[in-house]
């Protein structure tokens, strides 16, 4: 099963595989989809860029949001649904938010059945912790390494079921059958990172589970894998993206030393009692409580501090407002000159909880600061600032099956859109992966079964085109002179400076000009060496995806003339109800080189759900 041995030795070097369902991505969503498809009887392959168990999900810290009611019996799916919709400023697809809240508890229990060891309550049940935007303590967790527990559990389950995994194998193109009456997906084209050889997967169902786009920003908590491959693959296959203007900047990333700038500091620090202070020692979040959340947020230090033990009679501390609010507040304090020595602000848990408590609840944060910054978080405050963390936008899918606009093409996890609206609540991603991963896997298996009589076929000409595209960076021609690493780092700077946490029309326009210039330069890349495990070549291929997705983000951000969730416009500071009623949808234009944008009304929420917001 490992993709980690020399492969593709077949004559001509083109390896070919037939499956019912091919899942692209081995994070939480991809593995959950693969397990579901396998259990539904499909022949399944999982393909991923890194080794199995290393996907981004491994880095998740805080927990999985699910209204299990283990800590607060008052909690149930309806409260979770309401919190999710309000956190997303009502732009979420109501049906996804509903399914998510209803099914998350069962999905978490399932992990336990497969061997996960969550932290326990006194009664031996799965413990749940507080997080921003969630009314009750709701996040199932394992210290601050919940993602590791989740991916290892799913990985071990995948292995136990004998599902084929193609590791260190990168998909560069989706293949379609355009012969029949209806356009449908027929397979995928990939290369082994190790040998550089090509692979063709033939399958009626493809599930995209490729994660996010954060690597296009300079300061980010995301890894090299987050180049928006799934977003770009979907676009190029004819599917649409929505909500791309909404990028989550997590309020607390490390700011020092430079090598770790952007690295995540989990929200659990605040959930477990940590507070934010500026250079004057002021607990400033009380100055930034927006009208929308006034009724449910404490307005005095005393009330805020009582809340940790008595949630019924007190309101939440303002440090636990949704992430967009906290990130903007921190940004304002820094801009006003009240920042910390290294350009952040202070996150203090040392003065509020005992060293034993901190080490037990936040072991990997303790470790991370100690090892990488020489800071003992049980004795001194941390310096933190906003970091690009998550993209709410993604492939537009049917809420029940996760199928995109292209028949046979599904999308789940961070690369899908709609579930989180304009802002995701912490913990709602890991639960999203499980709920929709399972749904997509089942739907993909069912659809594949139905194609038994007329399997889509891959056209050999398309394979040749995909191969040519993948090899292009090696033959940049006369003008080839551009280093992919240089363009990538310039793009990251542009996105950070011009499409970052606070945006204006002028800067967004400028960003589009710059992105276009990078796209032009990226046509003349020069790559050293040969095809065997060559990161320069890999980046050259990823770069095209980063540029396409960055263009989508900037375009949508320029179009949306309001501020909402993860999209803040300095020139349109407030939310606007007309904008609050529509989504921006992006698709590839007829030439295949640019993107089109259109407005689309939000799906209408049924009356019985509307009541929760009365």
């Amino acid at each position: 099963m490992t993709g980690n041995e020399m492969s593709g030795d077949a004559a001509g070097g083109l390896e070919s595989h037939d499956y019912d369902v091919v899942v692209i991505g081995a994070g939480g969503s991809g593995l959950r989809a693969a397990i579901a498809a396998h259990e539904a009887g499909a022949r399944v392959a999982v393909v991923c860029k890194s080794l199995l168990g290393k996907a981004h999900t491994v880095m998740a810290e805080g927990g999985i949001a699910a209204a299990m009611g283990n800590r607060w019996k008052e909690d149930n799916w309806e409260v979770h649904f309401r919190d999710t919709m309000r956190g997303g400023k009502m732009l979420n697809h109501w049906r996804m938010a509903q399914l998510h809240a209803q099914e998350a508890p069962d999905r978490v229990l399932e992990l336990e059945t497969w061997g996960a060891l969550f932290d326990r309550t006194e009664d031996g049940l799965i413990s749940q912790r507080d997080f921003g935007g969630h009314k009750y303590a709701r996040l199932a967790h394992v210290g601050d390494r919940t993602g590791l527990e989740m991916i290892r559990t799913l990985q071990q389950r995948t292995v136990a079921l004998g599902i084929d995994v193609f590791m260190e194998c990168t998909v560069t193109d989706l293949l379609k059958d355009t012969g029949a009456a209806e356009d449908r997906v027929a397979g995928a084209f990939a290369y082994w990172r190790e040998s550089g050889r090509f692979v063709v997967f033939r399958a009626p169902s493809i599930v995209l589970a490729t994660g996010g786009i954060g690597k296009s920003f300079k300061v980010t908590s995301n890894s090299w894998e987050y180049t928006g491959d799934g977003h770009a693959l979907a676009l190029r296959a004819g599917a649409s993206l929505l909500n791309m203007e909404f990028v989550q900047f997590h309020p607390t990333g490390m700011v020092w030393p430079p090598s770790v700038k952007g690295l995540l500091v989990t929200e659990s620090v605040r959930g477990d009692g940590g507070i934010l202070k500026n250079a004057d020692g002021k607990r400033f979040m009380f100055d930034y409580i927006p009208e929308f959340f006034k009724a449910e947020t404490a307005d005095s230090v005393e009330e805020a501090d009582r809340w940790y033990d008595d949630k019924i009679n007190n309101r939440r501390p303002p440090e636990l407002l949704p992430r967009d609010e906290v990130a903007r507040a921190i940004n304002s304090e820094i801009k006003a000159g009240r920042g910390s020595p290294h350009g952040g602000i202070f996150l203090d848990i040392a003065s509020r909880r005992s060293p034993e408590f901190i080490k037990r609840r936040l072991p990997s944060m303790y470790h991370q600061f100690k090892e990488l910054a020489d800071v003992d978080i049980t004795a001194e405050p941390m310096e933190i600032g906003p970091t690009c963390h998550y993209v709410m936008g993604g492939v537009e899918v049917d809420p029940d099956t996760e199928q995109s606009g292209v028949t046979g093409l599904y999308a789940v996890g961070e690369c899908s859109g709609g579930m989180h609206g304009s802002n995701r609540l912490g913990g709602n991603s890991l639960s999203d992966l499980l709920v929709f991963g399972r749904r997509a896997g089942e739907a993909a298996a069912a659809y594949a079964e139905g194609t038994a009589r007329s399997r889509p076929t891959v056209a050999e000409a398309d394979v040749a085109v995909a191969q040519e595209r993948a090899l292009a960076p090696f033959s940049g021609g006369e003008k080839a002179s551009e280093n992919p690493y240089t363009i990538q780092s310039e793009l990251q700077q542009t996105m950070n400076d011009l499409v970052g946490i606070i945006r204006t029309a002028a800067e967004l326009e400028e960003s589009l000009v710059e992105i276009e210039a990078y796209q032009e330069r990226a046509r003349h890349l020069i790559v050293e060496g040969h095809r065997q495990y060559n990161p320069g070549w890999h980046l050259a291929l990823d770069l095209a995806n980063m540029l396409l997705v960055s263009e989508c983000i900037a375009k949508a951000a320029l179009a949306r003339q309001e501020s909402r969730g993860g999209h803040t416009r300095d020139d349109f500071p407030g939310p606007d109800p007309t904008w609050g009623a529509k989504n921006l949808v992006l698709s590839l234009d007829a030439t295949g080189t640019g993107v089109n944008l259109k407005e689309q009304p939000l799906p209408v929420m049924p009356d019985e759900l509307k009541e929760y917001f009365a």
């Binding site: 497969w114 326990r120 031996g124 590791m167 690493y485 495990y533």
Partner: protein, 258 residues
């Protein structure tokens, strides 16, 4: 503050290779992986290296720094003198693919041979109950990020390719121990861990524990108790504790051997 770091980095593939000499500008506060990345971005674009999280969480960036198995992203340059030359080589126990990237498929094969967790039915309300104290050991073992540095360092396989077939290595002894100590598991893998996994070949040198970046007490908490469970089914402090606090004694309750 920045300075010029002298580095020697192994470059090559399965057919052989050599240490290359490089000088790369670095900043204080940086880690070895930063220096490698700067080399890659500015001097050798095709230098092969694995990494993901850059925060010691994914276990991808394992290599040997000055001969010691370490995560490159957690090895700070300030641990070395500024004038010292830092040598980075791939993990020695696994076949080289290219430069710092090795073929770690041995580990994935061993994982496949290990029978998975098998719980009994849940409680009547569909939930499962376990006390925190009963899962703490298991949680310690599940901190493993699969960096395979313990496997790299273990002398049983480090220079003995022929032992690989009959020896699963410390990472997987940890997994056997985790399952054996899981309060809800119903399988008995003790014959397997002795036979197929070859725990008997381990002579408790503790080298694996020393290199574990997660600080897991592999030898003391997993291997030694596991050896004891195999040999003498009566002695085990945890089972004893379990009896005291009323959880099932796994030795006597019907477990199915796999």
């Amino acid at each position: 503050m920045s300075y010029d770091l002298k580095m020697r980095v192994w470059r090559g593939d399965a057919d052989g290779g050599d240490l290359g000499d490089y000088t790369v500008p670095v900043e204080t506060g940086e880690v070895v992986l930063d220096a490698i990345h700067r080399l890659q971005a500015t001097q050798v674009g095709d230098l092969a290296v694995r990494w993901n999280c850059k925060a010691g969480k994914c276990g991808s960036c394992s290599a040997e720094v000055n001969g010691r198995p370490r995560l490159m992203c957690m090895t700070r340059l300030s641990d070395f003198d500024e004038t010292e030359t830092i040598t980075v080589t791939p993990m020695r126990t696994f076949p080289v693919i290219r430069d710092l990237v090795t073929d770690v498929s041995y580990n994935y094969e061993k994982a496949k041979q290990l029978p998975a967790f098998e719980p009994g039915p849940p409680d009547a309300d569909g939930k499962r109950r376990m006390a925190q104290v009963d899962i703490e050991r298991g949680q310690e073992f599940r901190k493993c990020i699969e960096c395979f540095l313990c496997q790299d360092t273990c002398h049983v396989i480090r220079d003995h390719e022929d032992n690989k077939e009959k020896f699963a290595g410390p990472r997987f002894f940890l997994r056997y121990a985790e399952l054996d100590m899981h309060p809800l598991d119903t399988h008995d893998r003790r014959v397997l861990v002795q036979g197929m996994a070859g725990i008997g070949l381990c002579n408790i040198t503790k080298c694996c524990t020393e290199v574990c970046p997660e600080g897991i007490h592999i030898t003391d908490n997993a291997i030694i108790p596991m050896k004891e469970r195999v040999v003498d089914r009566k002695y085990d402090p945890l089972v004893w504790l379990g009896n005291k606090i009323g959880i099932r004694n796994k030795d006597n309750d019907g477990r199915t051997e796999v």
